[in-house]
Symmetry: C2
Subunit: 402 residues, 2 copies
């Protein structure tokens, strides 16, 4: 059987995702679609709208055959590490191809850019340092260095100002780094841009737009045209059970308490907390009744929104820099769900997999997995906190079969 | 002016406390009563029913002239350290006498016991070690060693099985240790024992009994006969504002979250967490919906209720062993409130006080005070959490004048 791998968050699963799943399978002529999906905490430093189990069901009911969890260590990391964790898992699952969305749907610029930076690595780093030394922020320096490098010759390079292109670029780099026999494929994203809200003339909207709509309107009807029926049903089911969707506002009382328990110097145990932001975090946590009030107090040019939110994710879960930084690549494959076809694929490959496959967590002693368990427990506690409903033994559930 | 000092928690202020204040003043012929009062967290490892400001008002309206805060470091400590912190402050406030309650109201056994243990210190420690080595718990070994020492000669010694006698004994020892020119006085406690509940035939009930009554009955009327009017009014005022009184159940969702954020080994940063209890804390926090469920899961012969609750106090506030154990004696006098007479006393002594007097915290940089501020902030956050009402700038308030 032939497998195509994809890297997803499904927060929530929408029509654009459905198109990506269908096209990826078609173009690569694959028998199964394998998705590496982030658990409860996502790459932009946010908790997921609904549990990973609900998001797994959305995927399995919409064309994905196998869902495995991207460990917390990678799902909350910057683009390079996020990509390495995800691509490594797709390699470990012996995918023949991996497919990612891009602005233009053309692979060549990704390969060219990866090649350009690889072959001019020292020059590139020198340029970055030069820009940083003038006081320009690190992400901006990266961008300028790249713009300068691009002048090299007449080939077509990527537009790295688009978030989706950045991830795609790092997927390609990661596959090269691990020397994986896996063919990259890219599919053009249709219509909605990453930061777009819902447009009334299309049935495609970005996940960001859909989440905004859910929180602003407070009901699900408005997003029905933009998501597959399976996704709509899972969202509705979550709302029936837990009364609201998860965002930082819902977790704010707990996050606020977590911050206030610390002395400034001890907050530095968490990734990215440095340069005095620890004082601002504590001071403004004291005085902010809502998360948005808090964010507008601590936001400055120095820190991107994403960087701040990732910091807060780690403080919320209690996972320290020291814990995070001990890992390079995933140490297990955590199965969240599968269709019959996905199961058949696993049976075929099971014996030759190089990472242990984990279906139930029980007594497993793996430090990376312990972090995932803790993150899921804390997410579940947060949900219980606002809904007064228990998420039953999240980590004792067997994989979902569909 | 002559001052008598007392050591109190006033949780809440009741008729027995009123008797103690009045008698102490009378017997010592004092002009003012100076109380060293615990802040938001108490010696048995519990949060106070109501804020320290409400408790200060109860005291000032019932005969106390000056209320200063016993810093968190001492207010949550075991009996010897608690007593040292409190007596040191009474010494720093130049009290002429200090007065404590006891079962029999006779000072001699306190002096005899202090003398006995001082003069037989090595023998006493040897006995303790001997008992501990047979597997007997430390508190029990202390008791057996003392019982054996008491056989020495025909003098009258204390019954150290009574909690109030233990505190009194440590007050005497502390005054000796610091060589304070302060005269000890003891007053017989009337009727209610430490662990007694309310008795219908008396207007004296223990604070424990009064709290039990408040939480069981859910209204204040039942305790009206047992507390001065001022105390009743402050309690009623608190309830109007914050809808319920503080106990661990009220703080449980936050405490539970705080515990679950930790890896077992990191919980050992908190005082008394050792010998594997860290695993039990995390495991049972996950599964316990209430504090009482949690406590009955973790309670074992090895740990007294008080020791467990003190552990939990520190985890709740985030104050680590390392932070706690850097101090030997108070470094400031934190004024919570005063009557006119109290103010006159302070004016008289102000210039000769050996510790800085702190009326407003503002920009003070004292590591012990920072702990007090943090503990008060966390207590306030906990109250805001269940009541949705802010305790306004607890630490910005000036002392209460009455």
């Amino acid at each position: 059987m032939k497998a195509v791998g994809i890297v997803v968050e499904y927060n929530p699963f929408h029509n654009g995702h459905f198109y990506h799943v269908t096209q990826s399978k078609k173009i690569t002529n694959a028998d199964v679609v394998v998705a590496v999906m982030s658990g409860p905490f996502l790459q932009r430093g946010e908790p997921a709208l609904v549990s990973k189990w609900h998001r797994t069901k959305m995927a399995l009911r919409s064309g994905v055959d196998l869902v495995v969890e991207l460990p917390y260590v990678f799902s909350t990391a910057n683009a390079p590490l996020f990509a390495e964790g995800a691509i490594y898992l797709l390699g470990a699952l012996q995918c023949d191809a991996f497919s990612f969305g891009s602005e233009d749907g053309i692979l060549e610029p990704f390969l060219n850019t990866a090649d350009l930076i690889e072959t001019h690595f020292e020059e590139y780093n020198g340029l970055i340092k030069k820009f940083v030394s003038t006081g320009i922020s690190y992400p901006q320096s990266l961008f300028y260095a790249y713009e300068q490098l691009k002048q090299k010759n007449g080939r077509v390079y990527l537009d790295l100002s688009k978030p989706n292109n950045i991830l795609g670029y790092h997927y390609i780099v990661a596959a090269k780094k691990f020397n994986l026999p896996i063919e990259p494929v890219t599919i053009q994203r249709i219509q909605a841009n990453y930061h777009d809200s819902i447009r009334e003339t299309s049935t495609i909207a970005s996940a960001t737009g859909i989440r905004k709509e859910i929180f602003q309107k407070g009901h699900l009807e408005a997003i029905q045209p933009y998501v597959p029926d399976a996704s709509y049903q899972e969202l509705a089911e979550w709302r029936r059970q837990y009364s609201r969707f998860v965002d930082w506002e819902a977790f704010w009382p707990l996050l606020r308490y977590a911050i206030m328990r610390y002395r400034p110097e001890n907050l530095k145990a968490f990734a990215d907390v440095s340069e005095g932001i620890e004082y601002a975090l504590i001071k403004h946590a004291k005085h902010s009744q809502t998360f948005s009030e808090f964010m507008s107090s601590i936001k400055s040019k120095r820190y991107t929104w994403t960087r701040l939110q990732r910091m807060l994710t780690h403080i919320f879960t209690g996972i320290t820099k020291e814990e995070l930084h001990q890992f390079k690549t995933p140490t297990y494959i955590r199965l969240l769900g599968m269709t019959e076809r996905g199961q058949a694929y696993l049976s075929e490959r099971k014996k030759s997999l190089e990472l242990p496959m984990i279906s139930r967590v029980g007594q497993v002693k793996d430090p990376m997995l312990e972090i995932d368990i803790r993150a899921s427990d804390i997410y579940a506690l947060g949900v219980e906190f606002f809904s007064d409903k228990k998420i039953d033994g999240d980590y004792k559930l067997p994989p979902i079969r569909f």
